[in-house]
Symmetry: C2
């Protein structure tokens, strides 16, 4: 049975669900593989990882995980550097796109957060950073910092004062920077809109026609033409979205540039066209949203 | 007595504190003016607003506020368009820099959230968006959407299921996009570091030497060379910071570019220098952090 990559929680498999084997995880749609730690590809991102003691470089602090990438091992010994490819590039992609990653803990990990037997799905995490680490044996491995996406219910177990020191940073050597837990209201944007827009435009900015090339692959942002949420209530649809580089995303959201009905890009300061919006046959743009955005920024 | 602009809570003035007059607010250091609604300038950002019924375009929904800018009025009647200058540009600056804004409600506002007499400090909000609105009388006014920065304690009053519909969006006409409350751990970065770096470099990107020009003023981002927080624990200091455009910030954080000891900018893909880092005499960069960042991305 082909594995269909799904991001986020799998219906019928809430946090805390136990599984007897890797195969059971795969059949439930939680993870693509029977052996690999990372379920993911460079293009699609990574939807799940298994923490099962494969790397001594891993660190598990519950809500914070430092996870080591895959590759470069033979017979469980590191014999080569890891590269930012395959599942590793998938986790980097999930970081870029802020895709949620299912964390599954296995019995071999021997941390206090691991199950004593079998596997357990432990909720959704976000990849917040990645980097290469040079090990004592001379080989480079990739590392990923994952942070749990805590919901309001979970928080009730451990309220924390604003400004309180973060326990995770107690061990920091110099100038530790504290963290504060804040509740933010995140718009539940559709992953399909982001995926389609980026795919159609191949991560090329529709305004300046450049692509941000990162070691893990090309990057871009998906902007909404008419803003989501109150008071604009623009819809989360491809017809209301643009593929932009971060610089032009900022310019568009702050009204430094806007679009004409024939999709010319106008510099708001001079009122002059600075170019034409890159288009794609599959990506139709609804002019109602273009006009709405323009009305905010022109007289 | 000169007003010293401070962002965030003023010691001794917790949320809920009442004040008898605008003068009392000013003397306590909460708001710069006796009359203006906005306390702020284009360069520094806005640190506080007073919601006191000055504009019929205002909307107060408690945690969400649609606030109208200032200007264009004579004898309380709109006689001209508002412009993105002075306090209005200050609120746009606070949005760009994610500066917290103190919200003070006054007795004249007549909303269910306003005090019946005097003024009350009602906590910290973030400006999340701004735009021009064309009123029925033909004049353009600026509007700002502010959202309350809710701390963990406040949340306890209203737990919400992940995925639950957002009550504020119930009135939306088409394709409402739901929001989810999530707890995020935000690093408490020093405003002084951000301010110094941007001032020294005048918002010019140290890599590509461009500035993002927005209607509310120039914009840039402050990046840390050695990352903050575990496991890198870089310090939140000017010596560990760079002034970058959002595109180069992304490239730097993902290792697409790194620096040599003589501050050349290297393209990681080719290993070739693509330019020299812009420097400023007041901004000394500590090479320890440069080397640490480079070690993550080179063999």
């Amino acid at each position: 049975m082909a594995y269909i990559r799904t991001f986020g929680e799998i219906p019928g498999n809430p946090e805390g669900t136990p599984y007897v084997s890797r195969k059971a995880l795969r059949l439930a749609g939680l993870h693509a593989h029977n052996q690999n730690g990372i379920s993911g590809t460079e293009d699609e991102g990574a939807d799940a990882i298994v923490l099962n003691g494969g790397y001594s470089d891993d660190r598990d602090e519950g809500d914070i995980i430092i996870y080591t990438g895959h590759g470069g091992q033979e017979d469980r010994r590191q014999v080569a550097d890891q590269e930012l490819i395959e599942g590793n590039a998938g986790l980097a992609r999930s970081q870029m796109e802020r895709l949620p990653v299912r964390v599954i803990r296995g019995y071999k990990a021997k941390s206090k957060f691991s199950p004593t037997k079998g596997y357990r799905y432990d909720g959704l995490y976000r990849v917040v950073r990645h980097w290469f680490k040079k090990r004592d044996d001379g080989f480079r491995v990739l590392q990923f910092r994952l942070e749990k996406i805590t919901d309001a219910e979970t928080l009730l177990d451990r309220p924390q004062d604003i400004g309180a020191d973060d326990p995770e940073l107690k061990s920091a050597t110099a100038d530790p920077v504290s963290r504060t837990e804040r509740v933010t209201r995140q718009l539940n944007r559709k992953a399909s809109v982001v995926r389609n827009i980026k795919k159609w435009h191949n991560n090329v900015c529709q305004v300046c026609h450049t692509t941000i090339e990162l070691p893990g692959g090309p990057a871009s942002e998906v902007a909404h033409i008419q803003g989501l949420g109150e008071p604009h209530n623009g819809p989360d649809r491809e017809e209301n979205a643009l593929c932009l580089c971060p610089n032009d995303h900022l310019r568009f959201d702050y009204g430094a540039i806007y679009l004409t009905d024939d999709l010319k890009v106008i510099d708001a300061k001079t009122g002059q066209a600075i170019g034409a919006l890159r288009t794609h046959p599959k990506h139709s743009i609804d002019l109602r949203y273009v006009r709405q955005h323009r009305s905010y920024w022109t007289k």
